[in-house]
């Protein structure tokens, strides 16, 4: 009888232990030593953004002749990968650093970073409900001088019988609105090689 009870307790303990699965942990994003994955993860975006920002700021393309800050609008950032990516994961970092560099201000009036409320609030000009002196007047928006746009795309290559190679390209370009001239552009490649059973999308 006693042995049966012990057996049942041990069996229950084993079942409970088996069902618990891997423990959930928070990622140490400052020093993440986790394995690489075939898909794009936050480390890849951090790496790409860091390199692109350094390249752009280091090139001097944002240094305005005569001083002052450029007004920059964010254009289209195409996601041409097989993954569902919010391109803001890259662009928020880039825009933040452009702003904090003291060399550029971003506009929310137009472009992919546009804030709809900027235009909606201008419709309040005709409303009797609002003090007209507090509404935005006409011709107050500042037009952008530069635009930043880009693309993230992916190439899948069969490396050997069991492995695949996935190449992710992060491309950005900075253009002058008036002249159409491109002031800066760069590309960062993040390459991964792993099992072809891993899904890269």
């Amino acid at each position: 009888m006693k042995t049966k009870i012990v057996n049942i307790i041990m069996l229950t303990a084993l079942v409970v232990a088996g069902c618990s699965g891997p423990e959930t942990t928070n990622i140490d994003i400052m020093n993440d030593e986790g394995k690489a994955v075939m898909a794009l993860d936050y480390r890849d975006f951090d790496q790409a953004a860091s390199k692109l920002i350094q390249s752009m700021i280091g090139s001097g393309a944002l240094k305005k002749e005569g001083g002052g800050r450029y007004v920059v609008a964010t254009g289209r950032i195409v996601n041409d990968t097989m993954q569902r990516i919010d391109t803001d994961q890259l662009m928020v970092k880039v825009e933040t650093e452009m702003l904090n560099s003291g060399q550029a201000v971003m506009t929310s009036a137009i472009g992919s970073g546009a804030d709809e409320l900027l235009h909606e609030t201008r419709e309040l000009r005709d409303s009797d409900e609002f003090d007209q002196e507090t509404t935005a007047q006409k011709k107050t928006l500042i037009a952008p001088e530069l635009t930043i746009s880009g693309k993230i795309f992916q190439r899948n290559i069969r490396y050997d019988r069991n492995r695949q190679q996935v190449e992710y390209y992060f491309q950005l370009k900075l253009s002058d609105v008036k002249s159409g001239l491109r002031f800066w552009q760069d590309e960062v490649l993040v390459g991964k090689r792993g099992s072809d059973k891993s899904v890269a999308w």
Partner: protein
């Protein structure tokens, strides 16, 4: 005795080939340039094993900063891979302001770098803020 003689001759020949004046800016890889103690088929296993035994790795020989035309601080790091193996590593640069306090920036992240055996490596890092005056750099193995 004959073997010892052969080994001595080989070492002498290799030593002579190593003593040629070389331009340190040009690296001739194994199989391209003349044999050295580290690349010769006879001596290679010994030299590689010894290098691994004493744990040869990377050495930073120079870290230079300068301010670019846009007023941003640039850091140029140069080093040498003393090992015979390719060393892959990551580095992270933290920028410091005039008070020695860290400048918060998205560019301070672990970035990959690779140096082939017995070669010089170098990389450049740009501070994205004008208030950066100094830096701290950390390294770790490429997982």
């Amino acid at each position: 005795m004959k073997k010892l003689g052969f080994l001595l001759i080989t070492l002498t020949v290799l030593a002579c080939s190593c003593s040629n004046t070389k331009d340190s800016r040009i690296h001739m890889r194994e199989g391209v340039g003349s044999d050295t103690l580290g690349s010769n088929i006879v001596t290679r296993p010994v030299t590689h094993a010894f290098s691994a035994l004493i744990g040869e790795g990377l050495e930073v020989t120079e870290a230079v900063t300068r301010r670019n035309d846009a007023g941003m601080l640039e850091l140029y790091v140069t080093g040498f891979n003393k090992s015979y193996d390719t060393k892959r590593f990551r580095y992270k640069v933290q920028w410091l302001d005039a008070d020695g306090l860290p400048v918060d920036t998205k560019t301070s992240t672990w970035l990959p770098m690779s140096a082939t055996g017995k070669t010089t490596f170098s990389f450049k890092v740009v501070a994205p803020r004008t208030n950066a005056v100094d830096f701290r750099m950390d390294t770790r193995k490429w997982e």
